[in-house]
Amino acid sequence: MMDFLADVVAWFSESGRWLSGDGVLPRTAEHLWLAILPMAIAIAFALPLAVWLGHRRIGEFAVNALVNVGRAVPSFGLLILAAVFFSRSGVSLRFWPVVVTLVALAIPPIFTNAYTAIVTVSPGSVEAARGVGYTENQVLWQVEVPMGAPLVLAGIRISFLQVLATVPLAAVLSSGGGLGQYVVRGFARGTSGLDEVFAGALLIAVLTLGADWLFTRLEPLVLPEGVRRLSSVEVRARASVS
């Protein structure tokens, strides 16, 4: 065991390990870029749609179905299926199949949580706002959206973590896949590659836990003052389980 840990330390201290093209820092940047780009696309698509449908109370059945289907599709299989279909239609790029898959995986949690957030805002608050003469637009933007914001953010966080977890699987497809490249390459070498497998896994775990920690730190900064004081317990109770 000690020998093994020494191998892992040696792996980290090889020359060019951090900065070269295949080094840890470029791989980390690739990892983050492969996660953030699909997230931005998914948010731009799903968030407005969910908020609007939620406000109009349209499609609750479809939303429930989306949650279950989203969970059952194995991200690994979806990733590889997308690559195969893209390649058949002549798109030789390895980058876009991954992005499209990740967008598809990112949408359900963002959409369903945002939808639930709007639908479950306390009816009393909404009625009161209408009672004092708020227009429908004001009800949406000044009551439903701010009060639903914590749950919307919870959905984005679940989605982000799921995407971050799927990025390394993309290493199976190409020389990309961010930090997952080390793990997949190491596994392909069998027992002798386990030091690289372990080192890559450590980096992925640290990156993901760090991103999660940062997300929970930044969350309060974007919430309105009044909403921040609402019990976070209530928010968790409403969130659909990740």
Binding site: F4, N68, R71, A72, V73, P74, S75, F76, G77, L78, I80, L81, A83, V84, S87, R88, G90, S92, L161, L164, A165, T166, P168, L169, V172, L173, S174, S175, G180, V183, V184, G186, F187, A188, G190, T191, L194, D195, V197, F198, G200, A201, L202, I204, A205, T208, L209, D212, V241, S242
Partner: protein, 231 residues
Amino acid sequence: MNPVFGQATTPLFDWDWVTRNLDTILEKTLEHLKLTGVALGFGLLLSVLLAAVAIWKGRAYRPIGAFTGALYTIPSLAVFALVAPIIGIGTSSQRFWTAEVALVSYTLLILVRNIVTGIQSVPAGVSEAARGMGYREGGLLARIEVPIAIPAIIAGVRIAAVTVIGLVTVTSLLGLGGLGFFILDGLRRSIIFPTEIIVGVVLSVALAAVLDLGLLMLGRFLTPWMRAHGR
């Protein structure tokens, strides 16, 4: 191992391959179920213990939640990779238990949370009434609180089951993988073979759907009183 893309000449789906390989498909499906079942079994056992600790010692719930939350947050590939050097991947039983440790670690957050929430959401009046009728703590838990919590517990088991079935496909990188074997094998042939990949993905989704439905029905069967109320 860079796969060759752009082979539009191979048919998208080759039924002949399916009929020729029914034995392997059945074998891998059973392996998938075994990996899932063992993970759910151990996950449930560990979660019941952790939930019991959390319920009896309220202070323990936060650290247990943080620990299981961190396990859930670490990406599946990384968990497999962190466990692999410790248990080893030399023999098939080492690979099996490497996969199981990682799979179990994913079920804990969902199961513990649902068990604790389920037990704690039993109305205080119900527990009080049971005590008034002479139930002791053990009987109260077994005869009153656990049955009332069953829908929440089953809901947790359903989520955990569907999650694990999806994750099992990733263990193909360890040389296991149940139906994930087809996904990786189809990709790693010298010419990509879509049939195999589609079979792997579709059967994995189907397995998740069947297991989910089965657990839903088990939940109904275990809570006949819910039906009496027209639910």
